[in-house]
Symmetry: C2
Subunit: 358 residues, 2 copies
């Protein structure tokens, strides 16, 4: 298949630090190339890939992500201008790019599928819904898909990790791990509370770049740092996997219904169990009692920590190999693309929705 | 010609109050229909037109203009999905819509021309520049065009007024007039200073909707209101033309290089001279000594007011008929469209620009 793969332009593939979407798009792209497909990757020019790389921005404009929304437009324009050259286009970028996908599909018939990587607020839902006769969608969890019943999904495909790049260890050091952006939604403050109440060592790692992240960090994290509670900043892949590998347990005290949660499967790949708050897609990832514990409160998280020795690191690793491996991930996408091709151009049967009242 | 005319979705055509872009797009659309063209107007469903009206939003979502940018995307998608049905598409909307125009042009070859109604900050310039091999542009003043030397303009076409809808009078009341949004850039504060220093009556009218407008109004306008300096709020067309018609003089103390300035030609159409600050397109509109005065400071504006009786209202009216009438405006657009059709699809000869460094 000739596949056009549109990554966001903001971080190179694979990402050097922060960049969950870029990481999974990288795995998918390289996997499809390995399966013999003719893949063109639209990403920043400093990306590494065995696919054909097409780019407008030679260097990922990461520092402009919050201010220069038009970069997405220019990036998407370059990709969709080549729509006739592909059997299928897979879009991982933002709403303006997806609108171009709808348009390209309606004008020249190329099937376009978009993975929903993030949550959909009511406005986003309205836009996505208006695109439902020009795009097909891939959900990253059943939780996410259930919240968007009006969208035409072709598949639910959870995120994946390349298990081979996560060294695995059954021997652990005596620390808890929290990895995530420094914002209230990710719950570093709850991890700190658990560490303080159990007098545990805790290592925190994550991005502190944007204003909201700085504010949260200064108020909810920094005052509690000590020789027992230690902040590593944003870490590269090697440091991250080493942190996972040696941790007693990863805390995932997520405060909002996140549609997936890559941290959980990265931790499991390294043989490290996860204690997570029941929220969003958590119950689809963690097998309670097998790969960690699903809890509702800080009290329960503290209690679960007392049982963490019951979880077998080998089972954690195996769970990821069975359910979140790259090969399975790539094959699920191939099936989704084939479904689209068999469907044929949906503009023959659908139209944009009728008049809306604003 | 089969013409697709894309108005912004935010205000109905013609606008009931604020809406300069909508007003000129309305004049153009109705003029083209009168010339026998097959015009489809993309605007809100509460618009009045003799063209074919195509819409997504039944009612103009004016109150969402600052917050719901995706409405532009949905609106533009509806329009450009029909790109094959037109000989030429004329886009008056925002950057996301124009990106769809580039894409439609590159995928199916329909020529797309975009009028630049506003100023272009450096970011906007970068985006427009990246679109230069897929769009042609119309400038609204030579001043505007001179600032964007890299864009492929097909014409400079100043805004127009329908002189017939501006009752004209040589008899004037004894007040000065300021019409414009209540923001510092438009200069209501300078108009007030001129009125106070000359002990003149002044009527102000204009939109106070957005937060910045409220803040400016409270600080720079409200404290000076009196029985001599009076604020009328946002006025409908009938009230506006009546205010113009009876004013001794319109003050246009513009504080930034505005690319046109519809207020000036509306005032002249009503036979009312204009005293304006030398900025942006002002010297292309006002003929110094014939239709008003171009000045640099409040002192000079005060001095010019002493000579305003030298300006003949009939000359003001005639100036608009000669230079800013609708018939001339419509014919200039027909010529621009024909140039595009003769040029042929520019994607045969051009490509998107090469790699950019972010």
């Amino acid at each position: 298949m000739r596949i056009g793969m549109i990554a966001p332009p903001w971080f190179p593939l694979p990402p050097k630090g922060y960049g969950g979407i870029e990481l999974v798009v990288h795995l998918l792209t390289e996997g499809l190339v390995a399966h013999g497909h003719d893949v063109t990757l639209f990403a920043s020019g400093d990306s590494q890939t065995l696919a054909r790389l097409s780019f407008v921005y030679g260097r990922a404009p990461s520092e402009k992500i919050a201010t220069h929304g038009h970069i997405e437009i220019i990036h998407g324009l370059e990709a969709y201008s080549q729509a006739r050259d592909f059997d299928v286009i897979h879009d991982h970028d933002g709403l303006a790019t997806r609108a171009m996908g709808v348009l390209a599909h309606r004008l020249v018939g190329t099937p376009v599928v978009a993975t929903l990587h993030g949550p959909a607020d009511p406005l986003t839902q309205e836009v996505l819904s208006s695109m439902r006769h020009g795009l097909r969608f891939i959900a990253i969890s059943e939780y996410q898909r259930g919240g968007l019943p009006e969208l035409p999904f072709v598949a639910t495909i959870p995120n994946a990790v390349d298990v081979a790049t996560y060294p695995y260890s059954v021997e652990k050091d005596d620390y808890l791990l929290f990895i995530g952006r420094m914002v209230a939604d990710k719950g570093a403050h709850s991890a700190i509370e658990v560490a303080r109440r159990t007098d545990s060592r805790l290592i925190l790692a994550g991005k502190v770049n944007e204003e909201a992240e700085h504010a949260y960090f200064a108020e909810a994290v920094e005052p509690y740092l000590s020789d027992r509670i230690y902040f590593r900043g944003e870490v590269d892949h090697e440091t991250k996997v080493e942190l996972y590998r040696r941790a007693r347990c990863t805390l995932f005290p997520i405060q909002w219904p996140e549609p997936f949660g890559l941290v959980m499967i990265e931790s499991l790949a390294a043989g490290t169990p996860v204690i997570a708050f029941r929220n969003g897609a958590v119950p689809e990832v963690i097998e309670h009692g097998r790969t960690g514990f699903i809890v509702e409160t800080v009290d329960e998280m503290v209690a679960a920590l007392g049982q963490i020795h019951e979880i077998d690191p080998a089972e954690c690793r195996r769970s990821v190999e069975e359910r979140f491996g790259v090969e399975r991930f790539v094959r699920a996408h191939e099936r989704a693309y084939r479904t689209l091709l068999e469907e044929g151009p949906s503009w023959l049967t659908g139209n944009l929705p009728g008049p809306l009242t604003a």
